[in-house]
Structure formats: C-alpha cells, structure tokens
C-alpha cells in the first residue's frame, strides 16, 4: 500500500513540475494545486498506512497494538489542506485579475513590472479600476 501511494505521490509531483514549467498561467495554477496535493500525499505516506486499524490504545496499555498508523500526519495534512485552499483561492483570483487587466495569461508576457520604460510615480493612468 505504501509503495503505491509513494509512486502516486511521485507521479503527481512530476506532473505538477511539468505543468509549472508550461507557458500558460492557468496551467501553472493547476500545477500548484497538484503540487500541494502531491506533498500532502507524501506526508500521509510518511505516517505509514494501515487498513482498518484505528490507533486506539487499549485499557492498561501504553501503545496501540502493532501495526498502527500515526494519526498526527493526518492532522498536519488537514491544516496544510486548509492553508493551501486559501492560498490557491487567492492565486486564482490574482491570475483572473491579471487576465482581466492585460487580456493575457501567457507567462512570457508577464513583464510589465520589469519593463525598461521609465516610470512616472505620479502617473494615475496605470491604476486599474477597483
């Protein structure tokens, strides 16, 4: 079971790296989603997997009966899922705003902030409508 999830996690990470290097920002965001899920699966696998063996400690014992899965990584993943959900929501809105402003999601065109044209701080024209 652990071998399978380890391989799945690896494949997800590989797929996410491929998507992160594509030229479309939308694919980049999908890559980020896959990346965070791949990492979550990695943590899940590192906590060992057992089927139908709840880590409940019997009366009088100090440890649950072997084999047992560590329940803490699952709590960690829960936190990580919530955090990455919030951050991804922000990222999606950001990319959408960027598309609305520049009508492009080509990663190669994302260079307004690094243009060589002189900037004017008092120029109000570059402010977008809220």
């Amino acid at each position: 079971m652990e071998q399978i999830t380890a391989i799945v996690s690896g494949v997800m990470l590989a797929a996410s790296f491929y998507l992160l290097m594509r030229r479309s920002l939308l694919r980049f965001v999908i890559g980020l989603i896959l990346l965070s899920n791949g990492v979550n699966l990695l943590i899940f696998t590192m906590g060992r997997l057992t089927r139908a063996q709840p880590p409940v400690i019997p009366k009088g014992a100090k440890l649950p009966p072997e084999p047992f899965a560590n329940p803490l990584p699952q709590a960690l993943i829960l936190t990580a899922i919530v955090i990455s959900f919030g951050l991804l929501a922000f990222t999606l809105v950001l990319v959408y705003r960027y598309f609305a402003a520049g009508r492009t999601i080509e990663a190669d065109d994302v260079r307004t902030s690094e243009s060589d044209a002189p900037l004017d701080v008092d120029d109000q024209a570059r402010r977008l409508p809220a």
Partner: protein, 499 residues
C-alpha cells in the same frame, strides 16, 4: 508560565483585529497602528533584556509539556530579531501615516500590516517546525494582499511571480517536514535535534537539508532562486516595500540559521560546499544586477539579494566567529534595508521619477534626506564607521581563519562593487544638478507636517545605525552570545525539553 513570549504574536493580532473592526474610521486606525507598533517595540526590547539577563526563555503553549505541545522559544538570536523588527515596524508605521494614500488605508493597509508583523514574529519565536510552516503561511497571505493592495498593473504583475514562487517554496518546506516527521516522529525542533539518528542512518540527511535550503532559499532570495524579488519588491508603495525588504527575506535567513545549526550541525563537506557556492553566487549576481539598474527601488532590491549572500557565507563557515558575523550582519541589515527603501520612496516622491539618472538636486534641496541616505548606503557598502563594516570585517576574519580564500575574495570584491552601485546613486540623484531652476518648483509640495512624518523615521533609523556603527561593542557581544547558542545547542535543547 511566562506570558511575555506570547505578546509578540498577540499584540499585532489584537492591533490588526481592532484596526479591521474600525475600518470605517481612518483616524482610529492610524492611532491604533502607531500604538500597536510602539507596544510591539517595547515588548521586543523587554524580551531582549530578559534573555540577556536570564538566558533562554521558553513557554509551553497550553501547558502541554514539550515535545508534545508547541513551545515558544526566545534565544538571543530570536530575541534580537524580534526587537529589531519591532523597531523598524514602528519606523514604517509612522512613515506610512503620510506615505500610504487614502485609498490603500481604506482598503485595509493597517490590519494587513499588523497581520504581517504577527506572522514574522511568530516565525521568529516558535520552537516547532510545523508551527513555523503555519507562521510562514500567515505572513505570506498578508504579504500577498499588501503586494496587490492598490491594484496597479505592475503590482499584479509582480504579485503573480511572487505568489507562484512562494507557494512552490512552501511545498518544498512542507515535504521536508513530512519526511522528517515520518522518520523521527518529532516536530519540536529541539526534540528533532536529538532524534536525527534514523535520518542519518538512511542517508536522507542531504535530501532533507536541500529541501529546506530550496524552501528557505526562495524566501531569502538566494542564488539561483532570487529572480522573483527584483520583479516584485519595487511595485508596492515605499512603506510596504520597506517592510518586505527589511524583514521578509530575514525570516528565510533566520530559518536557515536555526534549522542548519540545530538539525544539521555536522558541517559535512557537501552542505558546506553548497552553502558557500550559494553565498558567492548571491553576493555577485545581486550586485551585478544593481550595477545595471536605473530604477531606484529595483536597484535597491538587487542590493537586498547581495546582502543575503554575506549571511549565508557566515553560516557556511560554521564557526562561532562566522555565525557571530552573520548574526551581527542580519541585525544591522534590517534597519539598513528598511531605511534605504523608505529613502528610495522619498527620492521618487520628491523628484517625481523612479529613474536614478533623471533625479538630481536632492543634495542641494533636501540636505536632511541626503545625510540620512549616507548612513545606510555606506553601511551596505561596508565602509567604517558604519555597522555594515563590522559585520563584514568579522565575516572576513572568520573566512581567513578557515583558509577560505576564494569566498573571502568574492566578499571583498562585492563590497567594492556595492560601493560603486551606491556611489552611482549618490552621484546621480543627489549631486547632479536639479532639472528645475527654482527651489519653489522642487519636490512634491508636501506640508511641513507630512514631510516630518516621512523624514522623521528615516532620520531616526540612520541616527541609530550611526551610533551602533561608532559603538558596536554591545551589539557585537550580543551577536557573539547568539552565535555561541547556535554552535552549542545544548542549552537550547535543555531549555525547551527540560523546562
């Protein structure tokens, strides 16, 4: 139970929440902003004093004994960074009263600013690895929102790069935590330091170390992972850029110092070699970037990168002297970078252009600003008697003691090139003759009150830096104490687990 250590997190949390509640009243928000930052600075100073007199302070959250609960730890390194960040936060909070436009104030600059401080302080003070990840995400989301606040096209553009790369950094950091926990069953950093055995036996130590180096290296803008920084830091208004430049990269550097000294204390050839190559690349490419920039804040952003290289070099030497130099350098670099970005913002405001070559006349018409620029700029270049000199001197001595000729040579060369870069700014923006004939036409036409709010914090930062440079002994003794705690981690581990 020592409640003092909770305050660096609690004070900005309360300030931010109250500012959010008072979002209809600009006046209340402005008062809360200055009040919160002042209290935060006070708390930082008290923590430094207590750590200095009583040694490492710890507090177990909810009275769960370590390593089961979350421990907050203040050793000299954490305490020093807390106090310095409180100091620059106060300076930026005052500058922001006049430096942030009304629209940004209405859309929540003050709450976001204080939530950002909460994340930064949390990262400095936590003793738990997963908790560190959570604080990183707190400061990230606050910095994302601050970066796009105002909704300008360049800001969105910079934010796309900043957000994307930082999420990848978090994933790298999180997988390192996952692997460590799976192998050791520990998340508390002091506990992890003692139970790294299985990781070493399996030969996974370099893997975990490199995952941490990538995660923190992206956040600290190290070579070759720095390109997002000059693409994004110049886009928000000066106070936001200043707090980013002063503190965000330092959180990454702090984490590197903490993790590498605690978890990977054996300076094996591989990790040390990687760190020194990264340090050299960061210093060189940062300053090369600065030399060809014409946009004042982008030029300064490249110099932020260059300075990070010095700190990593100190970590790479892995001696008490090297770490003392690195810590001294970080502590003085926070106010240096903050004040440089604030001054950069003022230069843009007074001359109406971001391009260094089109400025001019600042020395003639704004002598206070010009004098305030000298201290941080030449501290960055490492000229005596400014504090950057002492940091670089210590680092060079530590390198020579280890016969690391190449990296020391690079460090000295980069110091020279940094001097060239800031001298260019000085010559063009300050000494060059102004483009307007008359003093009346010069500047943004600010009233006396606005100008003192903007220049006051900058002058105070420069003054403090100058005093520290002339009388560096106390700060150096403090940095040395912090470095001793990093090379001999026994007291840290005992304070967390035994307390």
């Amino acid at each position: 139970m020592n409640t003092l250590l909770v305050l660096p997190i609690l004070v900005p949390a309360i300030t931010g929440a109250c500012a959010l509640l008072a979002r209809r009243s600009r006046r209340v928000q402005r008062v809360l902003n200055v009040l919160g930052a002042t209290v935060l600075f006070g708390v930082g100073a008290v923590i430094v004093f207590q750590v200095h007199t009583q040694g490492i302070l710890t507090v177990q959250m909810g009275d769960w004994p370590a390593p089961f609960g979350i421990t907050l730890v203040a050793d000299p390194l954490s305490a020093g960074l807390l106090a310095v960040s409180g100091f620059v936060a106060l300076a930026v909070a005052i500058y922001a009263l006049a430096g942030i436009d009304e629209a940004r104030e209405r859309y929540g600059f003050y709450p976001l600013f204080h939530f950002l401080l909460m994340g930064i302080n949390g990262a400095f003070i936590t003793g738990d690895l997963f908790n560190l990840y959570v604080w990183y995400e707190v400061l990230l989301i606050a910095s994302f929102a601050l970066l796009v606040l105002g909704n300008e096209k360049e800001q969105l553009d910079g934010a796309v790069k900043y957000v994307g790369i930082n999420l990848i950094a978090s994933a790298s950091f999180l997988s390192a935590i996952g692997i460590l926990y799976g192998l050791t069953g520990a998340l508390n950093m002091a506990d992890l330091a003692e139970s790294m055995g299985p990781v070493r036996e399996l030969g996974l130590e370099p893997v975990v170390a490199m995952l941490f180096l990538i995660g923190f290296g992206i956040k600290a803008a190290l070579f070759p992972l720095y390109y997002w920084l000059p693409a994004s830091y110049h886009t928000p208004p000066a106070p936001i850029a200043a707090i980013f430049a002063g503190l965000l990269t330092k959180v990454g550097i702090y984490s590197l110092l903490r993790i590498f000294t605690l978890l990977f204390p054996d300076p094996s050839g591989y990790t040390q070699g990687v760190l020194l190559v990264v340090a050299g690349g960061t210093m060189l490419l940062g300053v090369f970037g600065a030399l060809v920039q014409r946009h004042v804040l982008r030029l300064l952003a490249f110099l932020v990168i260059s300075a990070m290289g010095y700190v990593v070099m100190g970590l790479g030497f892995f001696t008490t002297l090297g770490l003392a130099g690195a810590i001294f350098y970080v502590l003085q670099d926070v106010p240096v970078k903050t004040s440089l970005f604030l001054i950069g913002g003022l230069m843009e405001r007074e001359t109406g252009t971001s391009e260094v070559g089109r400025m001019g006349g600042l020395y003639e018409y704004r002598p206070v600003l010009a004098t305030a620029f000298i201290v941080p700029a030449f501290s960055l270049a490492g000229l005596p008697p400014f504090p950057g000199f002492w940091g670089k001197l210590t680092l060079v001595q530590a390198g020579l003691a280890q016969n690391q000729w190449v990296i020391v040579g690079v460090a000295l060369l980069v110091g020279l090139l940094t001097l060239l870069a800031v001298a260019q700014v000085w010559g063009r923006a300050f000494w060059q003759s102004p483009h307007v004939e008359d003093l009346e036409d010069f500047g943004a036409g600010d009233s006396w009150g606005v100008r003192s709010l903007l220049q006051g914090p900058v002058v105070v930062l420069s003054l403090v830096l100058f005093v520290v440079g002339c009388y560096a002994e106390p700060l150096f003794a403090f940095a040395h104490e912090a470095a001793v705690h990093l090379t001999d981690t026994g007291p840290y581990i005992e304070a967390v687990l035994g307390g």
